[in-house]
Symmetry: C2
Subunit: 310 residues, 2 copies
């Protein structure tokens, strides 16, 4: 499968059936996952606020993890070191454990893990990794999925806007900085990581309104200002308050902020349409740079180095 086909597959991934089973008696949720798998937990946290959700992206779990805790381990390979160790610790505390994975050790140690299709780069499998969680909690229904799939398939045949962004960034060698908005911080972070892993360029993410308390002071007069490319991720449901902040920030700090909009009438469709746009932009930036978007050799070398050193 060509890498661009992995990107194109996002719509079909959303139809994946199989969701984690959510016990009714838990009162808090912990989701463990790193990088391309961890993003699923971040998206979930942006969508679900009925119980406290704590994200774990290290070896350690919070002290509060107990038998009333739902602990969801997400690892595409099933062999992510940090996630496996966190899962073993959660088991010792008696947590209710679920997993989303293609297999690996995680499928061995967690009963009834949701097994998703393999053969993708973990970060390309964001639909497979996220939908079982959203479905399990009843946060998305079939009609929303169908509408979102239709929107996504439109992008797949008309990629010129994404090429254009990539060309602009490439021609001036700009570092992308992505501004999120409330409920969409996960997508800003997703864009950052896709620029890192696909295009191999540094990238950073922050969010409105928090960035108005710090970044704003730098945006006007920082050195090297011309070397950054500022995106803001908006959507039709955006509060007027935040929309005003974006405009005023751009005016006061004298910066161009490129607005990229999600589509649809729900948070789900807006999240996934924005993810898809970012995936394409980072893909075309990789193409422009002549780097292989699939290559993550450095991360593999690092893992081997860690094994050798401990």
């Amino acid at each position: 499968m060509e890498y661009v086909d992995e990107i194109r597959s996002l719509g079909n991934q959303l139809s994946f059936r199989g969701n984690i089973e959510v016990p009714s008696e838990v009162d808090k949720i912990v989701i463990a996952g790193m990088g391309g798998s961890g993003i699923a937990g971040m998206i979930f946290k942006d969508c679900y606020t009925k119980k406290p959700v704590t994200l774990v992206n290290s070896y350690n779990i919070p002290d509060f993890v107990d038998s009333s805790t739902l602990f969801v381990a997400i690892s595409y390979s099933g062999n992510t070191e940090e996630t496996l160790e966190a899962t073993r610790k959660a088991r010792k505390r008696g947590a209710r454990i679920r997993a989303i994975t293609t297999g690996g050790k995680l499928a061995e140690i967690v009963e009834n893990a949701v097994i998703i299709p393999d053969g993708y780069q973990p970060r390309s499998a964001v639909g497979f990794l996220t939908v079982p969680l959203l479905r399990g909690f009843g946060l998305v229904d079939d009609s929303e999925i169908e509408i979102t799939k239709k929107l996504l398939s439109g992008y797949d045949v008309s990629v010129d806007p994404y090429r254009k962004f990539a060309d602009e960034m490439y021609s001036k060698q700009k570092i992308p900085v992505i501004f999120g908005t409330p409920g969409f911080g996960s997508v800003a972070y997703r864009w950052k990581t896709q620029f890192n892993e696909n295009a191999k360029v540094l990238a950073y993410a922050t969010s409105f309104p928090e960035l108005n308390h710090n970044d704003t002071m730098a945006l006007e007069g920082t050195y090297r200002k011309e070397e950054f490319y500022f995106f803001v991720l908006t959507h039709p449901l955006l509060e007027k308050e935040i929309s005003n902040r974006i405009k005023i920030t751009s005016d006061l700090c004298k910066i161009e902020i490129t607005r990229v909009e999600g589509e649809g009438a729900t948070q789900f469709s807006n999240l996934f349409t924005l993810i898809h746009k970012g995936d394409y932009i980072s893909y075309y930036l990789a193409e422009k740079r002549g780097v292989d978007p699939r290559n993550v050799e450095i991360i593999e070398k690092l893992k081997r180095g860690l094994k050798g050193s401990v």
Copy 2:
């Protein structure tokens, strides 16, 4: 008071008496705060994991906020729009509400708010803003505070190392990127915001081990690599695993990562010694750049702009 005196005051701030009263019957904690005040909640979350802690840095509160929730509003001025609105919403849900502030509207709407000294820039008051929270939860004792104060006072008389970092960054117009480590993500973010607000330069923060799943792919071959200055914040309690990751990342990605160490035998002393070092570096970078570290006029203009536009 000169701005550098505000920075120097950190040690004395740690002796502030007055802590929030923590009801025993709550089962989850929400802390609302933005920017320089919000950092207190982040530090707390790095230190306390006995109950789920959710940070709010927007107008909205999670659906789970109820009468079993401790809701702590932190705003130095007491007039932060986002925090006030979140607090009003929490009150409607029957949450147990506490506040840390110098006054303002927040002191009017929250009974028994902990009132801290005014006259500082909010971000300089990080000791006043954080200690009432840590003390309230029994996370720090007098002996730890005395030890930390002694360490901090040493830095105040020997600032050459911080000037040197600032000089290096300034001479090559470098953008600081700060790598945190587990339990110290709040300090990496604090450094970022201090570079933004004091020195008026863009700055970004990420953390080990998560950054090894994304940034690592960019660090070797990104364009504009020479324009960033990478710090990692370490401390004597750092796990060997993370220490290995730092070394291997530096070797594989062929980047220089400047290590800045905390001091002392506790997370508290390491957090605050690292904060203090970052404060000085950003202060001297402001001096080099000839910008007023105290000036936050853009943020004030933005607030006025928002009032005019809504």
